[in-house]
Amino acid sequence: MPASLFPPYEDLLRILPEIVLTIAGTLVMVLEPALRPERKRLLGGIAIAGLLVALWGTAVANLFRGPAFHQMVVVDGFATFFRALVIVVGILAVLCSIHYLQRERPDSGEYYALVLFSVVGQSVMAAANELIMIFIGLEISSIATYVLAGYLRDDRRNNESAIKYFLLGSFATAFLLYGIAWIYGAAGTTNLVEIRRVLSTPELAPPRFLVGVSAALMFVGFAFKVSAAPFQVWAPDVYQGAPAPVTAFMSAGPKAAAFAIFLRVYMTAFEPISNRWEPVVWLSALATMFVGNFAALLQNNIKRLLAYSSIAHAGYVMVAVSAHSEIGTAAAMFYLAAYAFMNVGAFAVVTHFARQGEKYVDVDDLAGLGHRQPVTAALFSIFLLSLIGIPLTGGFFGKFYIFKAALEAKLYWLTVIGLLNSAVAAYYYLRILVVMYFHEPGEAAQTVSPVAPGVKIALWASAAGTLLLGIFPSVILDFADRSAALMK
């Protein structure tokens, strides 16, 4: 044990991204009242700068791998991967938001602070190695996201989205918390590594069913946050109602972070009882893919369609989780990265196209976009093709890796069903492509304005990410592979 309880300087470096982001968030809040409404976009710049510095901080923290603060957080490849991922998602979301905010609610800047704090929470989740830390990270991220979902307070859709998200979310978190309380009661510790040690030491092992019940209750909370069936119910309503850039943000960042803690808890602490939770995850993966893909088939509201599709994609990641192996973990990581790019990209297009008051959010409104704005349409096509899983996009390697992991874990049926599901999914994504390219331009496409600079950067960056992961997957794949072995 260290002689002094003052945190060693390495420990501080290990949470450098969180420190940077908190400072940036505070800075935004302090400057916010001082700026005139038309200068508020400066705050967006500060937010992006903060996120970029935090990205650098992540790299610095990665040099000091290891546990910090009495094992509460741990910096390993896994943590670094997810930290970088949620920060990048944050950057893309802020880029989409600048123009959107000026359009919808020009008088506010605390939006950026909320995004920054939400990223802090997700970053904490990525590195948390202990249930209390996980809970706090989750709450930091969630509370900020609840508010963001209802940010346009005069819009009824926003109100409804926020209230549904909040009530269902806090209810599910209550279950998670109850599960944590029981596992604390059963194992006497909240540290994941310790829990694992206790569970796998016969003379210390608490009653199995108690551990099982805790794992089940915690599953409710985690499955809710990743929108896995049957806890996906909130996602379509909330995604549809929230402001488009917020939807882009919360469908990628918080989801990735939630998967991070899900994986960490179930792959370390609950690994000794894996034969008990594997069937549950298996069933959930199955149901998630079905519910998401089939509901998306009929959707005409594009935000809702993408919401269902995001449920389906969570289903694919759940397939990787149920593989319960290091390659499964790596597959989930890679998929979440690919998914983040393609999904944020798709929502960025929606942000751009929806216009004032999110007027144009139907698939049919996109008619003829391919003729009006060929570049935007081409970028959108890249995202859609990646969501389908067409080769040369990140979505393809993601799916391939997941199904490979599943087959190696002998999950033959789940793989077959997953493959069939991705065929069903192709149908609704292609419908968008068809409408965009093959239909005559309608009113919405005729009046579309040029892409705002922020959104443009976000679009190009997402497309670049999607293609990079599809053409040179090794860049991320190898890192994911090396990071999949969690501290045990």
């Binding site: 002094s4 009653p207 019940v213 519910v291 009929l298 093709l385 080769p391 393809f396 093959f438 997957p473």
Partner: protein, 786 residues
């Protein structure tokens, strides 16, 4: 080199489309010269391959998952890639005339080049995943090309149908490829073929079924054949290139490629023979009853694809030889017939053979080309088609099992095919001139391309030695062992020649009495694969609608119910591990004040959820909080109790503030719903009760650590353990906690931010004071925690 050859068409595609509007001739030149150059380059590599020295070229791609971009050029891939590049050059040349003046010609050529690159990738790839990647790219470019005339709904639907069918097949290929790699230990095809023992592997049957699923969908085998006739919505060059000469043969290629690894055994010949044979007969019979020139050709293509699959199923070196020869012959004659049908359509405005005759007078060159191709299709000497067909009969006659059945089926096929060839290549051109609009000879681009292909079929028939090495090395690659091939036009008077003669007579009679026989055929089949597809799609959509309405009702409380129900089910499942638990619980030895506190909490709880007045509700929540803090005191946690009390007071104050705004309660849900809810709650209760009883029955479980209590004084210099932990051991948590509270403050600020003008305008002054109070109140917990 092979990588370059594969990527070149992609690069050309990327260049051609944007260049088209600026330098039309230059772009057109590129789009014809690239496939031509590829063909020449392949020919320069050919001698070595034919000598038996295949080319292997590995490139790393994603080594950690075993995916590489390695290429392999052996006899089989050489035959295919020569067809792909050679016919590609012809088709691109033809397209310049066929779509002359169309504003989309640039896009069309670019897509064709893209397809060509993908198809080359399929046949050259030596890695299963790379093969799949290119395979999907061909499906995708086929989708774009079928839907090229996108303003027509039929074209769009056909494109989607083709993509869905071949796409699902592609996914089967992916699964099959991964399983195959698992079984063989490598993703490299050459290593898979060398692995051996795959037929005994436990995964053999799943692999086989998945691979067959992929091949059958792609190569339009029964019952997945329906997409191919629909795909005839595409422009003629596409039909010629993708849907007869190359892409639809990808399935055949896959089967041929994997034959050394998966072939033999009992299942392989049976399945291939059965499906191939059925497809062959269905295809050719349906073709016979069609009137649309392209439909006739499409169904006869299905028939030929069936024949090729059947031959792989027969599995003798002779059969592979026949397959290779027939494949080459078919690509040449069918490609040229499709292109020719496009020229006819282009000039006359119809493809209905009932409305056409005597076109030879107006379009002599086109007619000559069509006739040569049709002779090859009918299997008459002196064409390559004849040689191929003779080889088919020969190998069927010596098939290891059911030789008579295979021979009979092939003979029937041959006879009908003769009639079909006459319908397609003779009928429109013979007799008196009849056409909806006066035809002219097609421009040179429209007849040179089919002409070259048709004449090549004739030349190779006359000088079969020229094709010998290509066919020999292809057949050897399929067999996995050297096969000797000697081609000649005349094999002597034997059974095949007899069958050919009989075929000509029967086929001729069929052709002559066609209108009478056609009258006998039912108008439409009661069950068609296409109809099944439509109904499946409709059922899928209906199911989707039902499921979504039911699950995503939009009602908050329905969602809550789903969460609770699942949580209870999950918990119940977890509890099932334990045998019935005997409770070791007795209330009698509780101390009096503890009972009081417990009672207070429960009463408050029940009052909270049952109260009809909101103030009583709030008071009850407060009471529960006070009760809980008393419990904390009982457990010797006074600081916790203080926190709880403060927060409780704050919550009550907040709630009272909010109630100031809100209307009175309207109470509970309707009664029938409530009964259900209560039932759900009761289930939840039973689960919870069981949990506690089970927990109580356990002996006290071991305690882990008291490290913090032992160390707090020495290390952190504090007396209050909780405080020490909050500030020192758990400094990071506390930091996070403060962040939570700060966010809550910001959040409420964002949501309710004072904007006096707006509020006055919208709601009057009534709401203003309490809104000011809430953000102010939230900052309080910040100071509370430490």
């Amino acid at each position: 080199m092979l990588l370059l050859l594969t990527l070149l068409p992609f690069a050309a595609a990327a260049v051609v489309a944007p260049l088209w509007s600026r330098a039309h001739r230059f772009a057109a030149g590129i789009s014809v010269l690239v496939p031509l150059g590829t063909a020449v380059a392949l020919l320069s590599l050919a001698p070595a391959v034919w000598r038996g020295e295949p080319l292997l070229e590995p490139h790393a791609w994603a080594p950690s998952v075993g995916v590489s971009l390695s290429f392999h050029l052996d006899g089989l891939s050489l035959l295919f890639s020569l067809l792909i590049s050679g016919i590609g050059a012809l088709v691109l040349l033809y397209s310049q005339g066929y779509l002359h003046g169309s504003p989309n010609l640039g896009r069309f050529c670019a897509t064709l080049l893209f397809f060509m690159g993908s198809m080359l990738g399929v046949v050259l790839a030596n890695n299963l995943v790379a093969l799949f990647v290119f395979w999907e790219l061909t499906s995708f470019s086929s989708y774009l090309l079928i839907g090229f005339e996108s303003s027509r709904l039929k074209a769009r639907n056909a494109a989607l149908q083709a993509l869905l069918v071949t796409g699902i097949g592609g996914l089967a290929l992916l699964a099959g490829a991964v399983l195959l790699a698992l079984a063989a230990g490598s993703y490299e095809i050459t290593e898979v073929l060398a692995a051996g023992g795959l037929r005994q592997h436990a995964l053999y049957l799943p692999i086989l079924l998945l691979i067959l699923g992929a091949a059958f969908t792609k190569s339009a085998q029964f019952p997945f054949h329906f997409w191919l006739p629909s795909a005839m919505e595409a422009p003629a060059p596409v039909s010629a290139y993708l849907h007869s000469a190359t892409m639809v043969k990808a399935g055949v290629y896959l089967l041929a490629r994997l034959n050394p690894a998966l072939g033999g055994g009992a299942e392989w010949p049976l399945l291939l023979g059965l499906f191939g044979g059925a497809t062959m007969l269905i295809g050719v019979v349906v073709a016979f009853f069609k009137n649309d020139l392209k439909q006739i050709l499409a169904y006869s293509t299905i028939g030929v694809l069936g024949t090729l699959v059947l031959m792989i199923g027969v599995g003798t070196p002779d059969a592979f030889k026949a397959m290779a020869a027939y494949l080459l012959a078919h690509a040449l004659y069918k490609g040229s017939l499709f292109l020719m049908s496009g020229a006819v359509d282009h000039e006359t405005g119809t493809r209905d053979i009932g409305e056409l005759s005597g076109l030879r007078r107006a379009m002599p060159l086109t007619a000559a080309v069509a006739l040569i191709a049709a002779v090859s299709m009918a299997g008459l000497p002196p064409t390559l088609g004849f040689i191929g067909k003779e080889l088919l009969y020969e190998s069927a006659n010596h098939a290891p099992a059911y030789a008579w059945l295979v021979t009979a089926a092939l003979a029937v096929n041959g006879a009908i095919l003769f009639a079909v060839a006459a319908m397609a290549g003779y009928k429109p051109f013979a007799g008196p001139l009849r056409s909806p609009k006066p035809p002219h000879e097609a421009p040179w681009t429209l007849w040179t391309a089919p002409g070259v292909a048709a004449v090549l079929g004739l030349v190779l028939g006359l000088a079969p030695r020229a094709a010998e090495s290509a066919i020999r090395s292809a057949a050897s690659a399929v067999a996995g062992a050297p096969v000797s091939v000697e081609l000649s036009l005349f094999h002597g008077f034997n059974l095949p020649l007899l069958l050919t003669a009989a075929g000509v007579i029967v086929g001729g009679l069929l052709y002559i009495y066609r209108s009478r026989i056609a009258g006998l055929a039912p108008r439409s089949a009661p069950v068609t694969a296409g109809g099944v597809y439509d109904r499946l799609l409709a059922a899928l959509v209906g199911f989707a609608a039902l499921q979504t309405r039911w699950l995503q009702s939009g009602y908050l409380r329905a969602y809550l119910k789903i969460i609770i129900l699942t949580a209870v089910l999950l918990g119940g499942y977890a509890l099932l591990t334990r045998n019935a638990a005997a409770a070791a619980l007795s209330v009698s030895d509780a101390r009096f004040h503890e009972l009081i506190v417990g009672g207070l909490i429960l009463a408050g709880t029940i009052a909270t959820v049952r109260a009809r007045s909101r103030m009583i509700s709030v008071a009850a929540v407060g009471a529960v909080g006070v009760g809980v803090s008393l419990i904390f005191v009982l457990f010797g946690a006074p600081d916790l109790a203080m926190t709880q009390l403060t927060i409780e007071a704050l919550t009550v104050v907040l709630l009272v503030f909010v109630f100031h705004h809100l209307p009175d309660f309207s109470l509970k849900s309707r009664r029938p719903v409530r009964v259900l809810d209560v039932a759900l709650c009761a289930t939840a209760g039973v689960f919870m009760g069981a949990l506690v009883l089970a927990a109580g029955a356990e002996r006290p479980w071991p305690s882990i650590s008291s490290y913090f209590t032992d160390n707090s004084r020495d290390l952190a210099g504090g007396r209050n353990v909780v405080n020490v932990i909050l500030t020192d051991f758990r400094g990071l948590d506390t930091f996070g906690e403060i962040t939570v509270l700060a966010i809550a403050g910001i959040g409420v600020y964002a949501l309710l931010r004072l904007n006096m003008d707006e509020i006055r305008r919208r709601e009057g002054a009534r709401t203003a004071p309490s809104e000011a109070a809430i953000p102010a109140a939230t900052t309080a917990p910040d100071r509370e925690t430490p």
